[in-house]
Subunit: 182 residues, 2 copies
DNA sequence: CGCCATTACGCCTATCGTAATCATA
DNA sequence: TATGATTACGATAGGCGTAATGGCG
């Protein structure tokens, strides 16, 4: 049994469906679906009642979710405890605008990845205004004004006069809670 | 990360070497060795100090063993809890026709509940054609012909001549897809 | 030398994303 | 029709045991 299967199951249970979970986990829907099938096969128990519109926990699934969530967090703690600190490590998921990321941001990421071998950077370039929470990003690069939100923003580039004249930039952008996963 | 890797690691730590652990686990020595290598690679930490004569826990290994052992036993408990394994346990939600359930079906359920103390039976008698999925039922008793569906049906009562003459009863009723749950 | 851990080798299965399929609101 | 779950498919990677290799009593 794979820990990632457990993590996937918990994520699907929390997200309420395969598709949102796949976004938050950063893997394809097919893999999420197959991990669930595999997990249920290993247990010979149906954990999720899947409709075409989402997934709901079964009786057994609700029970198993408790254990799975505990095990997953135990493992995360164990990793963190055992690994000596100091070096940047883990997976960082970052989103950037398609019109800006590949040219300006990618080189910085490449350099960062080169300097921290244990750091795995997942970058996604899109002009869609991604929802950091539901899609599981750790942070995003934005250009321009930001709507008010309960996210944490930090300015990393200069303010142009044009930007400034309209109204001060919001300080809110980024991930709430859980800034860095193991 | 594979749970079996954790189990293997704990076994090696307890047995004091790869060879005895491989016998207790019933797999080849090479697999035990490779599982350890993989686990250490995933954690970027050496867990076991291997000499040619056996293996001893490192500092990090001793710490991780605690977590690993706990996780493995958690999973074992979870399996056991989720799998009915002989005794029926949990909550079963049943729907039955109002014109049939209270008289014919209720006594059976009462007997069943008496024989399985851990089994909580929620029964609902109605003549409405309930939607098993959206209303969260595990199964339903139906009388007569069934429309085609992707549910799983099992005949539990005799076919009357009257039924038979029209057309064979559908086999579909119960849970969607995934035919057999636990 | 003998015992134990590791690794090279070959077969086979599993994994993964993409894209097609299917079902439902 | 739009959204979401499953599955067919091909390429790649990984699991597995057997047997060969290497180190320490």
């Amino acid at each position: 049994m794979d820990i990632e299967d457990l993590r996937t199951f918990v994520e699907v249970a929390d997200a309420g469906g395969v598709t949102p979970a796949s976004r938050r986990l950063g893997i394809s829907k097919s893999m999420v679906s197959r991990r669930l099938v595999r997990l249920e096969a290993e247990l010979s128990v149906q954990l999720l009642a899947r409709t075409t519109r989402g997934a709901a926990l079964t009786e057994a699934g609700a029970t198993f979710r408790e254990y799975a969530a505990r095990v997953v967090s135990e493992i995360d703690v164990a990793r963190e405890t055992v690994l000596p600190a100091g070096e940047l490590r883990g997976r960082l998921r970052v989103a950037a605008p398609l019109s800006f990321g590949p040219t300006h941001f990618a080189p910085v990421l490449a350099d960062m990845a080169a300097r921290h071998p244990e750091l795995h950077i997942h970058s996604c370039y899109t002009d869609r205004f991604v929802d950091l929470i539901s899609e599981g990003y750790d942070c995003a690069i934005r250009v321009g004004m930001l709507p008010d939100s309960n996210l944490i923003a930090r300015r990393i580039g200069p303010l142009t006069e044009d930007m400034w004249r309209r109204r001060p930039i919001s300080r809110n952008m980024g991930h709430p809670k859980r800034p860095k996963s193991s």
